[in-house]
Symmetry: C2
Amino acid sequence: MAQFMDVHTNMPGVTAEALLEAHRADLAIQDEESVDFKSAWGDPVTGHVFCLSEGPDKDAIQRIHERAGHPYDEIHEITVTA
Amino acid sequence: MAQFMDVHTNMPGVTAEALLEAHRADLAIQDEESVDFKSAWGDPVTGHVFCLSEGPDKDAIQRIHERAGHPYDEIHEITVTA
């Protein structure tokens, strides 16, 4: 499995409840694509949300996010960490 | 303390060794600004690096990153998580 950081750039005003609901929508179906969403971090002021996940490839991450109603705007495959 | 995700957008080809060295340079001086860098995730292909930290404000994060030689290009204050 690979690790990814995807970015949503247009979620201004996102609340804790809305982010949790979105995350749970991903978790509910992620097994169907062998994806594992780890964490989500949001800034309601800039409207950015960052999601860390593991999965087979970028398209699998996007399929889950799209079906849950929040496709990512960009994604990065994380191959170095510190 | 507040939580932040800062983004470096121009680190193509970053290696595991280079990211670890950069992270350690932050850790070595972060106490001077009451900053705590938690994790860094990098994609050498897109050249993006994401740093999660805690600190008093965005400027304190930037001062540490600048002194360590890698100022961020953007930063987001994380107030919602899931």
